[in-house]
């Protein structure tokens, strides 16, 4: 009896190990690569020149016919219009998957779908995730690479900032009084009305929201404890809503005040014109900025289309579309100097009074550690 059971469990264990071994090795990859006139495959091209110029790049991309993007909601920095513009200009089909994905989810999707035709071709990531995953990117320098400030790009083009914005407070001016400072939100007029876009230990936008609160309360980029304390008092005043603010909750009036990037709040306001008056304000003296990073997947199923997409994004047309969405394009200074910037949209950007603060890596890590230890306790 015992030996039979022992043999059975031994067989089961061996089977288990074999199965995991089989599952762990991936099926053979299907590679479809287009070689440009430069004799270089699209997946290793580091610039349009490598493929023989823009026309060759466009041809190669058209041959691929599709582009997979991920985590690009249509109302995020005007991506809806950018995708439509790209489709119309080059005749490529853009598959937009997982609009709610976080930056970490984008990387996970690339790993999970590796070798399949649905894997994401390009990423739009927050700074932290981008610096941690450069091994997954393919280096590429767009034609306008030199216009981008050195601090906002990797020298080899592994990950390049694309657009950015400042942290803001969006509010329904019909339901709540305009908050002049962040501390105003503690007043009883805001009871059960204030939401943060995500959990700061998980979402970059929420993290920056806490930093903004910290700066407004006299804290610094090195010490965000005052920000966490602010949200704790917001919670005990009964003003803080833990619900996730979405377009639906904003439109239905469930979340009348939202901490979010300025371009997101501005987009909400535009969408809701006629239904409600959604205004965006960047608190004076508490200006927290953040840029997102564009990168190409090393194992992109459509490498030429991915590179063409980046050329489009960093062209004047693409950058101005981001500007239209309320985001600040990375080539801002160069375009202003060259006069190619969309002046009306530029003037319409929310006013930021004060020196913008961009967290360094060390400040990021310090803040993360503080949040991990204290956030759940503060608002739990």
């Amino acid at each position: 009896m015992k030996t039979r059971m022992a043999r059975r469990s031994g067989v089961a264990a061996l089977a288990a190990v074999t199965l995991i071994g089989i599952a762990a090795c991936s099926p053979p990859a299907k590679t479809t690569d287009s070689a440009g006139t430069g004799g270089v495959k699209a997946s290793t091209a580091t610039s349009a020149q490598d493929l023989g110029g823009m026309t060759s790049l466009v041809d190669a991309a058209k041959k691929e016919g599709t582009l997979n993007v991920i985590a690009l909601p249509p109302d995020w920095a005007n991506y809806g219009e950018i995708i439509k513009g790209f489709q119309a200009k080059y005749g490529l089909k853009v598959n937009s998957a997982q609009p709610d994905a976080s930056s970490a989810d984008e990387i996970t999707a690339a790993k999970n779908l590796k070798g399949q035709s649905k894997a994401p071709d390009v990423f739009d990531l927050g700074g932290t995730v981008a610096s941690a995953n450069t091994a997954m990117f393919a280096p590429y320098k767009v034609t306008t690479f030199n216009d981008i400030p050195a601090l906002l790009k990797d020298a080899n083009g592994l990950g390049v900032s694309d657009y950015g914005g400042y942290m803001s407070i969006g509010y329904d001016s019909g339901k709540v009084p305009a908050p002049k400072t962040v501390a105003d939100l503690l007043k009883p007029a805001y009871k059960g009305k204030v939401a943060l876009n995500g959990d700061p230990t998980q979402a970059g936008a929420a993290f920056s929201g806490v930093v903004m609160a910290a700066l407004s309360q006299g804290g610094t980029a090195d010490d965000i404890s005052k920000g966490v304390a602010f949200f704790a008092s917001l919670k005990s005043a009964g003003n803080f809503l833990p619900v996730d603010p979405t377009p639906a909750t904003v439109e239905s009036g469930q979340t009348p005040v939202v901490f979010d990037w300025d371009y997101l709040n501005v987009a909400q306001g535009k969408k809701l014109t006629g239904k409600m008056s959604w205004k965006t304000v960047i608190p004076t003296g508490a200006v927290v900025g953040g840029y997102y990073v564009q990168a190409i997947n090393k194992d992109a199923p459509h490498p030429a289309a991915a590179r063409l997409w980046e050329e489009y994004l960093y062209s004047d047309e693409g950058q101005n579309l981001w500007l239209k969405g309320g985001a600040r394009p990375v080539r801002e200074k160069a375009m202003v100097a060259a006069g190619t910037i969309d002046k009306a949209a530029y003037a319409a950007l929310p006013k930021a009074v004060g020196t913008p603060v961009f967290l360094t890596k060390e400040q990021n890590n310090k803040a993360n550690a503080y949040l991990t230890a204290n956030w759940a306790k503060a608002i739990g």
Binding site: A23, P27, Q98, P99, A109, L113, S117, K118, A248, E251
Partner: protein, 272 residues
Amino acid sequence: MKLRAARRRKQTIFRRVVVGLISLFFALPLLGMVEFTTRAPGGGRTLDTWATLFDLGAMDQDYPELKAGILASAGLTVLTVAIMLVMLVPTMTWVRLRLPGMRRLVEFICLLPLTIPAIVLVVGLAPVYAWVAYLLGESSLWLAFAYVVLVLPYAYRALDAGLSAIDVKTLAEAARSLGAGWPTVMWRIILPNVRTAVLSAAFLSVALVLGEFTIASLFSRDNLQVAINLLSKRDASLAIAAALAALILAFVVLLAMSFVGTGRRSQRPEEN
């Protein structure tokens, strides 16, 4: 006789009160959705959102992913229910008849998919689906394999309740001693007797497939809920209206399903 009538009256009152109260509880959040989708700017009610939803031509043009999602979900539903029934009903009957010792193991396996949240299960399913994509292609329909696994806990419990209510052993032995082969036993003896349970299992499968979002989304595939989610980024009240419409559609489908197989039942003479 008087006792019977009195009890039946009590039962009717009990039934109406219980069903009424619980239905009210169910209806309230649905009313919340209706309230949101019928809001007119500036107060008052409007049916604009619903009119847009049912303007099929315009919807197809503006939101093509919705049609793709509906078609994918319809295919997934049929495939999932079929695989689940073909695999689970014979297995459970067989285990009851011939391998009672395996019952606990089968029960644990059928409860396992529910103990691991879908977001973690996807991490483990990714290599398996890499092979599925390689061997069978990348159609959304092959998600049915994962959906069958997701539906196992619910289907098992429904079928188990039904199989416990009938004496499977006696029925099967009687049929076998009369010369019936195993397929006949399954199809003509066991199946009609567990009709409610099979229907319940199918109900839960249909509802699960139509409501499933996480796995389809994390594998970047098309599906009704994925399409509604994308829709909600562009037009919130249209998305809520679409979600409510999907619920009503599922309700109609289930109602239609409940009429399957009734024909024969109502013709059988009452048991004495």
